[in-house]
C-alpha cells in the first residue's frame, strides 16, 4: 500500500473501534440525547471522513502506479536520524516509570546523561557533570524556588 494511504487507514480503523465502543453507551432520543448520542454521531462521522480520505489516497496511488509508480516515494528527504527519535521516546517512557520510585533528581540525571552521552556523543567527563548539574538546577528552580509539585524519591529528592 502507498505511504499516504496508511494514515487514513489507521484513522478509519480507529473510527470503527470508536463506533463499536460508543454503541455500548445509552443513545437516548433526539429529544433527550443520552451519553452515547454525541460519541456515536462523532465516531460515525469520523470513520466516514477517514474512509473518504482512504479512498482518495488509494485512487491517487492507482494513478501513481500508472505513472510508473511515481507516487510511491515522494518523501526521499525524510531519511534522517530515526533511531534518535525512537531512542528518545524509549528513554522518556522509561523515565516516566522511574520518576516516582527513583525520585526526580536521580531519574532526571539518568535521562539527561542518556541524551548527552548517547544522542549527542559527549565525552563522559562532560556528560556526567553536565547531567548532574542540569538535574539539580531544575530541581532547585522548580521545586525549591517555584514550588512546583515534583515526585519525591526515596531520599526526599
Amino acid at each position: 500500500m502507498r505511504r499516504d494511504a496508511w494514515p487514513p487507514a489507521v484513522l478509519a480503523v480507529a473510527g470503527v473501534l470508536a463506533i463499536n465502543e460508543a454503541r455500548r453507551l445509552r443513545f437516548g432520543t433526539v429529544a433527550v440525547p443520552g451519553p452515547g448520542f454525541f460519541p456515536l454521531a462523532l465516531a460515525v462521522s469520523f470513520a466516514a471522513v477517514s474512509l473518504v480520505l482512504l479512498v482518495i489516497a488509494l485512487r491517487a496511488s492507482g494513478v501513481g502506479q500508472l505513472d510508473g509508480g511515481a507516487g510511491t516515494d515522494r518523501h526521499p528527504e525524510e531519511g534522517g536520524a530515526k533511531w534518535k527519535v525512537l531512542a528518545t521516546l524509549a528513554a522518556m517512557t522509561l523515565y516516566a516509570f522511574a520518576l516516582e520510585p527513583a525520585g526526580f533528581v536521580v531519574s532526571t540525571a539518568g535521562l539527561v546523561l542518556f541524551f548527552f552521552r548517547v544522542l549527542e556523543r559527549q565525552r563522559w567527563v562532560v556528560a556526567v557533570p553536565a547531567s548532574m548539574l542540569t538535574s539539580i538546577a531544575t530541581y532547585v528552580v522548580f521545586k525549591m524556588w517555584l514550588q512546583v509539585r515534583l515526585p519525591p524519591g526515596p531520599w526526599g529528592l
Partner: protein, 503 residues
C-alpha cells in the same frame, strides 16, 4: 464603570508591584521562547500553568497573556536574523526580513518589527476596550443555542482556513471532539471511552495533549533532521528605522493592525493566518509586488503588526463569552479556571480587576517589550548560538515537569508521550494539530450546549433556527462551506489564502 474609568482602574491593577513583575516575567519568558525555535507559546504557557497556583488570579493571567504576545515579538528576531521562524506566526517575516538582514539592514528590520508590534498592540488594546464592554451586553443574551452556533462557526473556520487538505482538517477536528468525550458524560456522569482507567475517567488532560502534540513532537522532528544554526553574523546596527522606512511602513502597520485585530476575534483564526493575509495584501497594494521577497520593509511591518494585533483580538471572545477562539486562548482559559474565575459576560462586572487589569497589563506589557527588546537584541542573538544538543534535553525536561506538576500523576506523562508520537506522525503525514486541539477544547462545550438546547426545545432543532443570533452564526458557517462552491470568486480567494498559507 465607563471605559476611561475602567482603564484607569485597570492601570492601577496592572501597575501593582506583584502584577507588574508578573507582566515583566511573562513578556520576558515569551520573548525568550519566541526567539528559541522548537518551543512555542502554547507549550510554555502549559508548562508554567502549575507555577501560577501560588500567584493571585490577576497576576497569573497577566503573566500568561504576556507570554503569548511576548512570543510574537521574539518570533520575528529569529526570522530576521537566522531565517528560522522562532514561532509559527513569524514564518512570513522570514521572506523579506532575512533578505533585509543579508543586505545589512537587520537593524531596521528588527526595529520596524518591534515598533509595528507595539503600535499594533496599542490598536488591539484600544479595540478591546471599545468593543468588549458593549459585546458583554450582547453576550448576556447568549443561551445554549447561540453558544452552539458560535462554536459551529468556529469549527467551520478552523477547518476551512487550515493550510492543507480541508478533509484532513475535518477528520482532525472530529478526532479532537471524539477525544473530548473521553471521561464522564457532562450531564449524566456516565463513563465514556474510559476502559476502566481512573486516569481516563478524568478525561484526557489538555496540558499533556498540548505538550505532546506541540512540544515533544517538535523536538523529535528537530533531533531527527538536525537543526543547523547559522546566525547572521553582521553586527546589528541602527535599530531605529529611517524616515523613508517609516514612510513605507506606516500604511502596512495600520492595515496589519486592523486586519490582525478583526481576524483575531473570529474563532479558529489564531495569529498565524492574519500574517499571511497581511503579506498577501501588502503585495497586492504595492506598486512593486515583484520586489517582495527581496527585502521589502512592508513585508516585515505588515505581518509583524498583524500577529500582535491578533493576540489582542483573540482576547475578546475569551473575555466576553468565555470561549477560547484558538489553542493559546484555551490554555489562557485554563489559567482563569484554575483560579476559580469564569471568563464571560459577567466577569467585567463581578471581577473588574481581572478584566480591566488584564487589558491594561497588555498595554503595559507592550511598553515593556518595546523598551526591553531593542536593547536586548544582542542577548537574543547570543542565545541563538546555544547548540540544540543542550537545548532539547531541557525542553523535554520542562515538558515533563509541566505535565507532572499539574496533576501529580505519572500516567499523564505517558499520555503526553502518546500524543508526542501522534503529533510527530501527524506532521510527517501532513495533518494539522490545531483543529484537533481546538475541537477537543470546544467539543465538550458544543455537546453541552446542543444537549441543553434540545432539552430547552423539547427535542426540536427549530430552536437553532428561530433565535436570530444563533441562526446568524449557523448561516455564516453554512456560507463558508457553500459559498466557495457556488461562487468561483470566493473559491479563488480562499484558494489564494490557502496557497499563500502553505507556501
Amino acid at each position: 464603570m465607563d471605559i476611561a474609568g475602567g482603564l484607569l482602574y485597570g492601570l492601577g491593577v496592572a501597575l501593582a508591584p506583584g502584577n507588574l513583575l508578573a507582566c515583566f516575567v511573562g513578556v520576558f519568558v515569551g520573548t525568550l521562547i519566541g526567539v528559541l525555535p522548537g518551543i512555542g507559546p502554547v507549550a510554555t504557557m502549559s508548562l508554567l500553568l502549575p507555577v501560577t497556583y501560588a500567584m493571585s488570579p490577576a497576576a497569573s493571567v497577566i503573566m500568561m497573556a504576556g507570554i503569548y504576545y511576548g512570543a510574537m515579538y521574539g518570533g520575528s528576531t529569529t526570522s530576521i536574523l537566522v531565517n528560522l521562524p522562532g514561532e509559527a506566526a513569524s514564518v512570513v517575516t522570514c521572506l523579506d526580513g532575512y533578505q533585509m538582514a543579508r543586505q545589512g539592514r537587520a537593524g531596521p528590520a528588527l526595529g520596524i518589527a518591534a515598533f509595528g508590534s507595539f503600535l499594533a498592540g496599542t490598536v488591539s488594546v484600544v479595540g478591546i476596550m471599545l468593543l468588549a464592554p458593549p459585546l458583554t451586553k450582547v453576550a448576556l443574551s447568549f443561551g445554549p443555542p447561540e453558544i452552539f452556533g458560535l462554536l459551529l462557526l468556529g469549527f467551520t473556520m478552523v477547518t476551512y482556513l487550515s493550510a492543507g487538505s480541508k478533509l484532513r482538517a475535518v477528520a482532525m477536528a472530529l478526532a479532537g471532539m471524539l477525544l473530548g468525550t473521553v471521561g464522564l458524560d457532562p450531564i449524566t456522569a456516565t463513563p465514556r471511552f474510559t476502559f476502566g482507567s481512573l486516569t481516563l475517567a478524568d478525561g484526557i488532560g489538555l496540558v499533556p495533549m498540548i505538550m505532546g502534540l506541540f512540544g515533544i513532537s517538535e523536538v523529535l522532528l528537530n533531533i531527527e533532521k538536525g537543526i543547523k544554526q547559522d546566525v547572521f553574523l553582521t553586527r546589528v546596527t541602527g535599530l531605529l528605522p529611517t524616515r523613508e522606512d517609516w514612510k513605507r511602513s506606516a500604511a502596512p502597520i495600520a492595515r496589519g493592525s486592523a486586519l490582525g485585530f478583526l481576524l483575531g476575534i473570529l474563532p479558529g483564526i489564531g495569529a498565524i493566518i492574519p500574517t499571511f493575509i497581511s503579506y498577501a495584501l501588502e503585495r497586492r497594494v504595492s506598486k512593486h509586488p515583484e520586489r517582495f521577497g527581496t527585502g521589502m520593509i512592508e513585508g516585515v511591518a505588515g505581518p509583524e503588526s498583524a500577529n500582535n494585533a491578533a493576540t489582542g483580538g483573540a482576547m475578546i471572545p475569551l473575555l466576553t463569552l468565555g470561549i477560547a477562539p484558538n489553542v493559546v486562548m484555551a490554555v489562557l482559559l485554563g489559567a482563569f479556571l484554575i483560579h476559580g474565575v469564569q471568563p464571560g459576560p459577567l466577569m467585567i462586572r463581578e471581577r473588574p480587576e481581572m478584566f480591566w487589569g488584564v487589558v491594561a497589563s497588555m498595554y503595559v506589557g507592550n511598553i515593556i517589550l518595546l523598551v526591553l527588546n531593542l536593547p536586548l537584541i544582542g542577548l537574543w542573538v547570543q542565545l541563538l548560538r546555544v547548540p540544540y544538543g543542550i537545548l532539547f534535553p531541557l525542553i523535554l525536561l520542562f515538558c515533563v515537569i509541566g505535565v507532572y506538576s499539574e496533576s501529580g500523576n505519572m500516567w499523564d506523562i505517558v499520555v503526553m508521550l502518546v500524543f508526542a508520537v501522534v503529533g510527530y506522525l501527524m506532521k510527517k503525514f501532513g495533518f494539522e494539530a490545531a483543529p484537533l486541539v481546538l475541537a477537543f477544547v470546544l467539543g465538550r462545550m458544543a455537546e453541552e450546549s446542543i444537549r441543553q438546547s434540545l432539552l430547552l426545545s423539547r427535542g426540536s432543532f427549530d430552536i437553532l433556527l428561530t433565535r436570530p443570533l444563533a441562526t446568524t452564526f449557523i448561516a455564516l458557517a453554512v456560507a463558508i462551506v457553500v459559498l466557495p462552491a457556488a461562487l468561483p470568486g470566493t473559491r479563488a480567494a480562499l484558494r489564494m489564502i490557502g496557497r499563500e498559507t502553505t507556501e
